[in-house]
Amino acid sequence: MSKNNRNSVANVIAVEDEQLKLLNDAKTKVTAEAFQMKRCLDNNKLMDALKHASNLIGQLRTNLLSPKNYYALYISSCDELRHLESYLFEEKKRGERINKLYELVQYAGNILPRMYLLITVGSVYIKSKEAPAKDILKDLVEMCRGVQHPTRGLFLRNYLSEMTKDKLPDVAHEIEGNGGSVKDSIDFILQNFTEMNKLWVRMQHQGLAKDKEKREIERQELRLLVGKNLARLSQLDSVNAEQYSKIVLPRILEQIVNCKDQIAQQYLMECIIQVFPDEFHLITLEKILQTCSQLVNSVDFKIIIITLSDRLANFGARSPSEIPEGDAVFNQIFNYATKLIEQKQKTPNEDILAIQVSILGLAIRCYQKQFNLAGQVLGYSLNFLNDLQLKEASALKQPKIIKQIVSLLMLPIDSYRNANTVLNLENYAAIMNFLNFETKRKIAIALLNSAIDFRTKFSEIEQVNLLMNFISPLFKDEEENQSNNIIDPDQIEEEQTLLAKVIHLYSNPDPEILFLLYFTTRKYFGQSKPANLKYILPPLIFAVLPITSKILQGEDSEKKVQKIFKFILETILALAKNKYSELALRLFLQATYVANICRFETICYEFITQALTIYEEEISDSKAQLAAITLVMSTLEKVDCFDTENYETLLSKCALYCGKLLKKSDQTRAIGVFSHLLWKENYRDGKKVLDCLKKALRIADSCMEYGTNLHLFVEILNLYIFYFSKKNETITTAYISSLVDLIKTNMANKEQEHDEGFAKFFQNTIEHIRQITLS
């Protein structure tokens, strides 16, 4: 820190200390005079009390306090003056005439105490109704002109405003009528407002140029005093829209324009928009917008337009019937905003976009059914972005610009809650192109989430095309991104799940069109990275499979269904090709099952062959093999469209694969499952079943491991029982009892080793046998 700086910091501290001391001194004096004043009031010595009151107010004549500290002093002085006011009010009730006092206080030699006293007495004078309120108000506001010092004047007029706020003639107010009309109140407040604003603006031009910054901070601290007048106007009950637009607003705007001061214009324009009701704004929109072009250049018109547009947007969303028919409100704001943007050459790019975001909100929220308006805003933004890309492409990489583009895209998603509506907006999708890959993905995810949350139905091919193009960043890499796509796998899974979910939102009563939707989707998914296929293709297949039986109900359907199965075949092969073997195998089996329902034997045979091929070529893990062959056989058990030749070919394949399993226990169990293929509705061979079970038993016996071995015996025993109960005559009780004996003997040999679960299993089985034989 340089020496100079240190000095200036020391200075600041010294100044603040000094301020505090001045404030405390002044407050002490105020308290002392107030004490004397109250004592005099208690003794009914009004003249003396007024003298002390005048001394008390005299403290406010100081030049030395900063606005903040002056405010503190003002507040404590006003608190004390309230005692005087209530005393005077009591006097009035006792029948004292206040007009004498109103003259008396005007003898005070100094203007500031004189005016504070006059206002205090004046407020009681209005209540006394000795004279019309309007005359007193007019007199007070006129006499305040004598105080031209900005700070002192502002606070004095604030005192005037505070003391009279409950005494303004208004409808349903006791003072209305002879006391004046609301017109007088309007005049009064407007005059006070105008004068206060002039004083406030004048602060800017006082003092040294180097203190400009400090002065501006001080002015900002005082702005509420000026703005309060506008709030006061808005609180007058009987000001209707017409009076507002013909009397109130023009005079406020006139003052705003004439003061030619940036801080005042900025603040007061926002203030108008905030304090007056939306219904009024609708009527006076033109005036307010027109004023924007008359403000000094440094005023940030963006904030004004946005505040206005946001307010009307919220209003339109709350009470849509209040927004005039047609698009007048939108057009006014949109046209003025674009005109202002052209007029003020130096408007920052992000501000221009921010304005469009706000107006887009207006278009969406106020005009739910006029999508062309939102399209118009998006069109403007699109042109702007195109220009920007030509002139200053680097700007598009700035976070503040990106933020606004994102808002442009997110706003329709969040507001319409219908992805189709959003995607159909003119110029919408094109704006997405100005974003980088990562951001595009975020927008796409938001759109998908919205579609899922609000159950948007996609029923036309065009809709699917729009959707797929828009969300393509989620499944398709962009060139720019190929080198550095390190994305968290959890995140990928989450995103791909969204894609899977959106497929289920497709709907169309015509199954052929529905198929086309999926067919179209498949083409887009074809561009997907192989790694993502496992997430997005299965739901597609599961969505398409049920369509087959629906189409079959129609006429001339065979070819159509064949086409669908071909689509399924190719889709599953795509997975198989990308080494999702187990998945492909299962999908083939599912397809087999569906083809069987459709009675398409050839296709059915093709699917199961595909499954077996995958089994043969791709599945090598023993556990996976067992699971796969079990599934193949289960499927086959349910399929009944094959002729015997085909069926036996498949049977022999299955038997072969069962026998080739690595572990004996697996073989045993697989053969057990296989036995069911020999004992079904359209293919029944008791002898082969028996052979099959015997083979299983033999292999189980060769199983060295004691526990497994016994367990397998019981499993086979259960199969025997099953076929016995199914009246397979080759299975006799003799087989069953000898197998039970075998198990018992084995158990007796190694009694200590078998576990409880097994014992229970066996016991239950025995129990089961007993029941069957009894029945």
Binding site: E103, L112, G146
Partner: protein, 295 residues
């Protein structure tokens, strides 16, 4: 009351009739006196009561009562100008041996000037009762003051005062007082319009000044008295501002304007508009206003 050793010989009291007559409070030399008030056309009635202590007697050549209006200049003591003097003989030569009352009545005497207690000059009315005592060095004299006000009729012409003044390139103002002639309980209403402001004004006040002029030529004395300083503006106005003036006169001890009292003195009133800048330089414009006493 004592007169050179004859104190015990008698006491004299002059009583004005109409005991309910209004009294005015007159400050002179630090004391406040209450003096009966007459208007210019009023008759002056009353009685003189001479109390003679028992056993005393006064032989005299006659008793008279004079009504005198006179102007006294303080720098010229002893030299009085009597502008009115009326004598009434109350008794011819005789001997007073007991108390006696003399009623008196001065009718139709025009008291054209108002009483005045100024800085350098005094205009007074009084009654002087004189017993011309035989064989004595001095007479028995008793004086009693009364005060005179003069109601005026409302001036027929009473224009406002309007004036544009300024310092070239620095300050240009226009001020207006609603009248040029104000009665003593009147209110001065006016406004000041700032046409050009290039100096940093701190505040503005209006002063009410009384100027008493006495004598003439080399002996001319002017006494200016500021009766009030009344701040009418705090802070610096911008161009185009107009500042209101409202000054209630009834709170001040004022007299009507006396333009020329018997060629001896005058009392005039001025409103002095003063602007003070941040360096405490004062810019002012003085303007006479006429005060009159409303009936």
């Amino acid at each position: 009351m004592s007169f050179f050793g004859f104190s015990s010989s008698c006491t004299v009291d002059i009583q004005f009739s109409e005991s309910a007559r209004r009294l005015v409070e007159i400050k002179s030399e630090g004391t406040i006196q209450k003096i009966p008030l007459f208007f210019s056309k009023d008759n002056v009635k009353g009685k003189v009561i001479v109390n003679i202590p028992a056993g005393k007697r006064i032989e005299h050549n006659g008793c008279k009562l004079e009504l005198i209006g006179q102007i006294e200049m303080f720098y010229d003591r002893g030299n009085h100008y009597e502008f009115t003097s009326v004598v009434k003989e109350l008794a011819s030569a005789s001997i007073l041996s007991s108390s006696i009352e003399y009623p008196f009545e001065f009718n139709d005497i025009d008291k054209q000037y108002e009483s005045h207690n100024g800085i350098n000059v005094r205009l007074r009315y009084f009654l002087r009762f004189v017993i011309d005592v035989k064989k004595a060095l001095t007479n028995i004299v008793k004086e009693s003051d009364f005060w005179v006000y003069n109601h005026q009729t409302e001036p027929e012409i009473n224009n406002s005062i309007k004036m544009e003044v300024g310092i070239e390139e620095a300050l240009h103002i226009e001020f207006e007082y609603n009248k040029s002639k104000y009665h003593l309980r009147d209110v001065v209403i006016g406004k000041i319009y700032f046409l050009l402001v290039r100096i940093k004004i701190k505040h503005m006040e209006i002063a009410l000044i009384r100027r008493e002029s006495t004598g003439s030529g080399p002996n001319l004395y002017n006494e200016n008295e500021t009766l009030t300083k009344f701040e009418i503006m705090d802070g610096a106005p911008a161009r185009g501002e107009s500042i209101p003036i409202r000054l209630f006169l009834s709170g001040f001890d004022l007299t009507p304007t006396y333009r020329n009292v018997h060629g001896k003195f005058s009392v005039r009133y001025y409103l002095n508009l003063v602007l003070v800048d941040e360096d405490d330089r004062r810019y002012f414009k003085q303007q006479e206003i006429m005060l009159w006493r409303k009936g």
